[in-house]
Amino acid sequence: MKIIVCIKQVPNTTEIKIDPVKNTLIRDGVPSIINPDDKTAIEVALQLKEKHGAEVVVLTMGPMQAEKALREALAMGADEAYLLSDRAFAGSDTLATSTIIAAAVKKLGADLVLCGRQAIDGDTAQVGPQIAEHLGIPQITYAAAVDYDAEREVLVVKRQFEDRYQTLEAKGLCLVTVLSTLGTPRYMNVWDMVAQDEKEIGIITFADLDLDKANIGLSGSPTKVKSTATKQFDKTIETVELDPEGAARAIVDALKARHLI
């Protein structure tokens, strides 16, 4: 079984700051991490490898610095790593991104494609299903458990909804997006990090893939960012300092005035 795990390197959003004048991100000093859902997807792949034997390939698209995320995945135990990097890819929206990644998956060949459910910098959850559609393969999103029944050769997935779950079975190539709650990614030590240093990271560019420029990059993206803004609040109220009794009384009065109690 060959498993391709699609991962994304993201800024650690908890530490993001915005330049209030230019409305742009201040990236300086913000650490980059493997997107949490994606890291769990790597863990799922490694567990399938341990249980059933598999070749685990990690794939990411991004600038050359994204190599760091791939190195981390290799240290966790992935067998191969590929970086999709080309100026022609820059500015891609989710649809264009998925077009590029799907072309790479096709080139590399896989029996199972894993993604994280969504990335913390965009929160869209779109790229996984879009890759699946481009490849013409089924998708299972929001996976809360993934197992492989070797005897029947089916993938068994617990698919989570807000109010229920489904147990789904898929035979043949499919794409699964996993929730970070599915499992805790394994810890890697210094030796893992040193050991992976030997491995080479494959670079995939536009020239390596069967792609039409009309469908990728900024110009090939159906959606465009028209403008960005920081949030403005227009309420102006007085803040009052009260003792607990006075505060409780003020709240009760306010609720009564609105006929809520």
Binding site: L25, F161, Q166, I251
Partner: protein
């Protein structure tokens, strides 16, 4: 030319989901701007009877696909149905709820139809030419981006439950109900549903509460908050910090990674008002904030701001109610 605003009206076990109704409200505004129709898509098995409700909430037309293939949510069957209807009718806009169903189906469709999709929009506006302006939070809610899809149709977006206001039910409204038939391709639907299990959680739904007693890290003991909530017939909600520390369950979390709420009164105790929290509650009718820090950002959205110890105030409320 692409025309009309479509809403994918999600149902579960035959029950219309509140987000579907909310979307009909915003769809009505968008369609009125260009004098076009609101078209509701109702897909499921044994769901036709619900079509009248969609008209009452603002649809001019309901397109119903009532078929056993749609009993459970199966991406491929739902995608086939919507794709065929879209291709036959060329809508200008298609809206989906940003639920675990909408966020599965909509991206699949965007790739199949080769058009753009914008996730989790908090504001939708339209110009006279029918271009949709889709505003969504970006980078952990620190920024808002307005996205357009100028050259592809339909323009598609998902909207989270609770973000848009529910329109009034008008039983006298008239609309057309159209039963549709789909040419199913069973060979593509290879994922099998072995079982579907409903998880009945005993958590009160914070999105349905009239009054929310919301606790943040400044609340040291949440027990009085539960007592107060009971007395005012409200519900306890919280910021993420109490969820992260395991004190409150995730289903009660308000904010960008929790729920969007718009109760008649939102009482924020010991909540700083981080942008990701505000994103989930700023549309509340009336906001009370109790915080010891006079500079807490929560005061920027509050109608009544009180500088006081939240724990003492909660205890006192419990006493006098």
């Amino acid at each position: 030319m692409a025309k009309n605003v479509w809403v994918f009206c999600e149902q579960r076990d035959g029950e219309l989901q509140s987000v579907a109704i909310e979307l009909l409200g915003v769809a009505r505004e968008l369609a009125d701007k260009v004098n076009e129709k609101v078209v509701a898509l109702l897909l499921g098995d044994g769901v036709s009877a619900k079509a009248n409700d969609l008209v009452a909430y603002g649809a001019d037309e309901v397109r119903v696909v009532d078929h056993a293939n749609l009993k459970h949510f199966v991406t491929e069957y739902y995608a086939q149905a919507v794709t065929q209807l879209v291709k036959a009718n060329d809508p200008n806009v298609v809206l989906f709820g940003a639920t675990s169903i909408g966020r599965d189906l909509a991206p699949r469709l965007s790739a199949r139809l080769h058009t753009g999709l914008t996730a989790d929009c908090t504001k939708l506006e339209m110009d006279e030419a029918g271009n949709l302006f889709m505003t969504r939070p970006a980078f952990g809610g620190n920024l808002f981006a307005t996205i357009i899809c100028p050259e592809h149709r339909p323009q598609m977006s998902t909207v989270r439950p609770g973000v848009m206001k529910k329109p009034e039910f008008d039983g006298a409204r008239k609309g057309d109900i159209i039963q549709e038939t789909i040419n199913w391709d069973d060979s593509k639907a290879v994922v099998k549903v072995v079982e579907e299990v409903k998880e009945t959680k005993n958590v009160e739904k914070i999105e349905d509460a009239k009054i929310l007693v919301s606790c943040g890290r400044g609340v040291k003991d949440v027990a009085p908050a539960f007592d107060v909530a009971k007395k005012v017939k409200g519900t306890v909600s919280s910021s993420r910090s109490l969820v992260d520390s395991g004190i409150i369950e995730h289903a009660r979390q308000v904010g960008q990674t929790g729920k969007t709420v718009r109760p008649q009164a939102y009482l924020a105790f010991g909540i700083s008002g981080a942008i990701q929290h505000l994103a989930g509650m700023e549309e509340s009718e009336y906001i009370v904030a109790v915080n010891t820090d006079v500079n807490a950002p929560i005061f920027k959205v509050a109608n009544l701001g009180i500088v006081a110890d939240a724990n003492a105030v909660l205890k006192q409320l419990d006493k006098i109610l």
